[in-house]
Symmetry: C2
Subunit: 347 residues, 2 copies
């Protein structure tokens, strides 16, 4: 099926576009009143993820409001460890919890790569349904957490401030950690391949916690497993995003990925100078700008477009997920500003 | 009075030393059972800070256990806003809270620079007492939060995940934010000058939240106010530490400070190549290494010493405060390893 709007995919391949494409991390989320309504109908957050009709509904909500250039599957990064039997639940305000965290080498040895068509079938069903509903309007992005990021949650058993358990295991039993990461990389590859078969047209790997590592440990415990994923995926573009990972942009770009996601800390022009001839760049507006006035939002969009400069290879996004308290009207201003103000930089 | 151990001050001036000096951020803290005992005797955390005898007692506790090369005043970075009348309290597990947060330009206009000899006298009394008790054994470090970091707590009213209020104010009313930061810079200068008069022999400015800013905003809203402080302080060395600030090491070093604190993400050898001929470097072991075995801890110390290389100008430290769950025996291994393994790099 030919896409009606293929700006996002063209920018990923650094082919000419008429306007810079834009989407937002967590665009289907709590800042939207209609999301909060649907959420009430699901028992809890995981029910929303596991019910294809509900996941489809919330995936499409931001697209009904805004002229976004891509949809992203509504799901959670922790579906894989849940499918491995760790028993995922979400408590309001406290985040994810695993009933059976992974703490020892023996725990790690017991883990098997989940068959994505079995325990994760609900994700593939959601993808199929969303593709039908999108009817070729814009492409659909699939995603997964990075092996290191999944490992942090699996070992800690939930969110953490200090990462003491996962780093303790990494420092003390590096071989056990490598075994865990290898199992996770295989699982992510199988999972993303199944998403692609079901219809996603690009995939993104979220390395939320790579940025808490020293350079040495990032290059040993996080990046190589993302590289495995890049090599294991065929047929669709791959975006890698390590939050707080600006020190390693060159190494991330060298994995063979198609695009690098950027947080807001670095001017995108500097990132383009460093790696923008090898890959596309996705980012990188500070999500807090959306609390400011429409004028200030437009100014920020203009500054970032100017920083990136002429030509294709930029997918506009926030540098992090949109916050739940943002005014949906401000999002409209943001999305329109990207399209309107980017036209002069193309063609 | 001549110091019995002046390694710390000599390393700050990049003068020859026999061994690399070492101290730890939060070395007087919850990982020590004797600290938890003293803590029980104070009503709460602020009582501990505000009672010179108790503050002195906990300051000296880690020095009784370990051959540390410096003491650091036991206090909190939020004493200044408290002295401004914001009403600081600490709730167990939730961190600091201000009863009267600063939200509007009118709130900001009402703020006055606190006289350090008035509402903050308890800090100076603690300094005098600690100096007496140290009796010239090792130097005493004084400190303050950076203006930007203080502003984040004052505007948010406590700890935050998104920094939406303080960034909202910064984006929407930059002039009001500059006025707040200017008042805070003046307050920090007066506060640190009073600490120096009372006896501290070096000062450190903690910019805990500078690292959440874009480069543009860090260089406008955080760094210039730390530079003001550096220019306003005389007679003792100044250490600047921006957590997650590795992108701006050159700019931090160019403020005229004597040393730059490093978190653990960058190899210290890379930091030395970038700025180590201008300033001393303090850091930068990942605090999570202290969860590993004694052998692993010694290995990490050896790696960091090797990364820094030959000569003076390194003050060994963690890249962040020591965690409350660390085994005090592991700290002993760490401190001893720094002294023992660093000797070959000197003289």
């Amino acid at each position: 099926m030919t896409l009606k709007n293929d700006r996002f995919l063209r920018a990923l391949r650094r082919q000419p576009v008429d306007q810079t494409p834009v989407w937002m991390m967590r665009q289907a989320g709590r800042y939207l009143p209609e999301y909060r309504e649907t959420r009430k109908r699901g028992k809890d957050f995981m029910t929303l993820c596991q019910t294809p009709e509900l996941a489809c509904e919330v995936t499409l909500q931001p697209l009904a409001r805004y002229p976004l250039d891509a949809a992203i599957l509504f799901s959670d990064i922790l579906t894989i460890p849940d499918a491995m039997g760790l028993g995922l639940s979400f408590t309001e305000g406290e985040g994810p919890r695993f009933q059976h965290p992974v703490r020892t080498h023996a725990d790690i040895k017991k883990l098997a790569v989940p068959d994505p068509h079995d325990n994760l079938r609900y994700v593939m069903d959601a993808v199929t349904l969303i593709r039908q509903e999108l009817a070729g309007s814009v492409p659909l992005i699939g995603f997964s957490g990075s092996p290191w990021t999944l490992a942090t949650y699996m070992v800690e058993g939930g969110t953490t401030k200090n990462f003491s358990r996962v780093k303790g295991l990494m420092f003390e039993q590096p071989q056990a950690m490598h075994q865990l990461l290898d199992t996770l990389a295989q699982s992510v590859i199988a999972y993303l391949k199944a998403q692609i078969e079901a219809g996603v047209q690009a995939v993104m790997v979220f390395d939320t916690w790579g940025g808490i590592l020293t350079s040495r440990d990032y290059l040993e415990f996080s990046l190589p497993y993302m590289q495995k994923i890049v090599k294991g995926i065929e047929g669709v573009p791959v975006i890698l995003f390590t939050k707080d990972g600006n020190e390693w942009l060159e190494e991330i770009a060298a994995t063979g990925c198609d695009a690098v996601g950027l947080d807001w800390k670095l001017p995108i022009g500097s990132a383009r100078t460093r790696i923008g001839d090898k890959v596309a760049l996705q980012g990188n507006m500070d999500p807090c700008i959306l609390y400011a006035s429409p004028e200030r939002i437009r100014q920020e969009v203009a500054d970032i477009l100017k920083s990136f400069g002429q030509g294709s290879g930029h997918i506009f996004n926030l540098g992090h997920g949109i916050h739940p308290q943002v005014d949906p009207e401000h999002v409209a201003v943001f999305i329109d500003a990207v399209h309107e103000l980017s036209a002069p930089y193309h063609g």
